[in-house]
């Protein structure tokens, strides 16, 4: 299982692996937003929590195709289903690798971008905390979406339609915690709900995604 994790990380980080994709996409979305909204610091500070979170969802989404698609195409996925490691664990490890190369760097980069959006300093730790607590759920739910749209024509479009609605609760709680912190309101309840959601998803999503993969491979 550690070998599988190491393989996933190596593949993602090597040239053409696509790990920087999500980060660069995140940068671009956060650059575009002030250009569209206007440079007024007060407005930007108000939309910053939601903007940074929505951009995180999109950055996660654009990197989902590499979760199963290449392994499906070259037959690795078939080999993995025959390996002694249960398919549920394979899904969990792949989602973990996806998070380590997308969600985690994104959470660490977010404060830098938040400074450009004039997010109050008090909200910074909460921004990192919610992204740290919430983005694993995005990778895990993304595994469900990626499994559902595996090997479909126009799958790239469909994965967004199917996955983004699943992100709604995480987005609401995560962005709420940051916005509350920015306004000096208690942020802990929303952060706790974000984390609770991630834990529930971590327990159940691998089962669901593995069941869907079995349907796809059959």
């Amino acid at each position: 299982m550690t070998a599988l994790l190491r393989r996933e990380l190596t593949l993602a980080l090597r040239a053409g692996g696509g790990a920087p994709q999500g980060l660069v996409f995140y940068l671009i979305v956060v650059l575009l937003a002030p250009l569209g909204i206007g440079p007024d610091p007060e407005t930007l500070a108000r939309v910053a929590p939601g903007l940074l979170w929505v951009a995180a969802l999109l950055a996660c989404l654009v990197t989902l195709d590499r979760l199963f698609q290449t392994d499906w195409e070259d037959g690795t996925l078939d080999a993995l289903t025959l390996s002694p490691v249960p398919l549920e664990a394979v899904v969990a490890i792949k989602a973990l690798a996806h998070w380590l190369t997308t969600g985690l760097p994104l959470a660490l980069l977010a404060p830098l971008l938040a400074v450009t959006l004039h997010l109050p300093g008090a909200a910074m730790p909460w921004l990192v905390a919610t992204l740290f607590a919430g983005t694993p759920a995005l990778s895990l739910l993304g595994a469900i979406g990626a499994a559902l749209t595996l090997n479909l024509r126009r799958g790239g479009l469909l994965v967004g339609v199917l996955t983004l609605p699943l992100y709604i609760p995480t987005l609401i709680f995560g962005a709420r915690a940051v916005a509350n912190a920015a306004q000096g309101l208690p942020a802990l309840p929303a952060l706790a709900l974000t984390a609770a959601l991630t834990l529930a998803v971590a327990a159940l999503a691998p089962l669901a995604a593995a069941a869907i993969l079995r349907i796809q491979i059959r």
């Binding site: 469900i144 559902l148 749209t149 479909l152 024509r153 126009r154 799958g155 469909l158 339609v161 199917l162 983004l164 609605p165 699943l166 709604i168 609760p169 609401i172 709680f173 709420r176 916005a179 509350n180 309101l185 929303a190 709900l193 669901a208 069941a211 869907i212 349907i215 796809q216 059959r218």
Partner: protein, 247 residues
């Protein structure tokens, strides 16, 4: 004799063939009586005037939009557990009907909101939940269309329906959380039970029955179409197979 007999497509076709004419007439009757009673037989509201009559379209459509998804959930579960094809096809047939009713509820709601709230749309928890429900319907329909193998499509969409149900419900309550934090809730309620008088209530009940019957009728017709389409596909495949054998 049990309900499961109608899991056989032939038995289902025979039954619906006999039942559908009567059901269609009953639907038309219920809708005609309910809507006419509602539009012409009830007084105007003393504050909202004639706008209040949108209730006879809005509430039944919203009710069936939600029940439509629940029906799809049950049908998907039956497919997953007992592998009855008619059940999977019924879920597929219900999705566009449910999506349309969701849209009807949202549009009539906008027409109602404009004069009473002064706006076509607010990000109120209820409205937002319906928006989310519409997206779930559209994703479900799109997945059915995208997968070619019918059995795989049925399995994948059933999985989506089960997962989607959990998240649609979760979003429904997450949205309450989001709105409370953003601004105070609207004092105007879309819930008719709290303040609707009997004069409005009885025609509304007839309309709800009419919309429920309409949903059942449409789903049965569409399920029949899906079964026929499946048969055509089987005939096509057999013909192609025979041609190959001859060549």
């Amino acid at each position: 004799m049990s309900l499961w007999r109608f899991a056989n497509p032939a038995a289902f076709m025979a039954l619906t063939d006999r039942v559908l004419p009567a059901l269609s007439v009953l639907t038309a009757l219920c809708l005609a009586v309910g809507l006419a009673w509602g539009f012409f037989g009830t007084p105007h509201d003393y504050q909202q005037g004639a706008t209040v009559k949108i209730i006879y379209l809005h509430v039944p459509a919203a009710l069936m939009a939600i029940n439509g998804w629940i029906m799809m959930l049950v049908a998907s579960l039956i497919w997953v557990i007992r592998r009855h094809h008619v059940s999977a096809l019924a879920a597929r047939a219900a999705a566009p009907v449910g999506a349309t009713l969701t849209l009807v509820a949202m549009v009539t709601g906008a027409f109602w909101g404009q004069p009473t709230w002064g706006t076509w749309w607010v990000w109120d928890p209820r409205l937002t939940s319906f928006f989310i429900l519409l997206i779930f319907y559209l994703g479900y329909i799109a997945l059915w269309e995208a997968v070619e193998d019918p059995e795989k499509a049925a399995d994948l969409t059933a999985a989506l329906c089960l997962i989607g149900s959990v998240f649609a419900l979760l979003s429904r309550y997450a949205v309450l959380f989001w709105n409370q934090g953003l601004h105070q809730g609207f004092s105007l309620s879309l819930d008719p039970e709290t303040n609707v008088a009997d004069v409005f209530y009885y025609p509304l009940l007839v309309c709800m029955a009419g919309f429920a019957l309409l949903f059942v009728t449409l789903v049965l017709i569409r399920t029949r179409t899906e079964i026929l389409r499946r048969r055509l596909r089987a005939l096509d495949l057999r013909a192609a197979h025979l041609r190959e054998g001859a060549a």
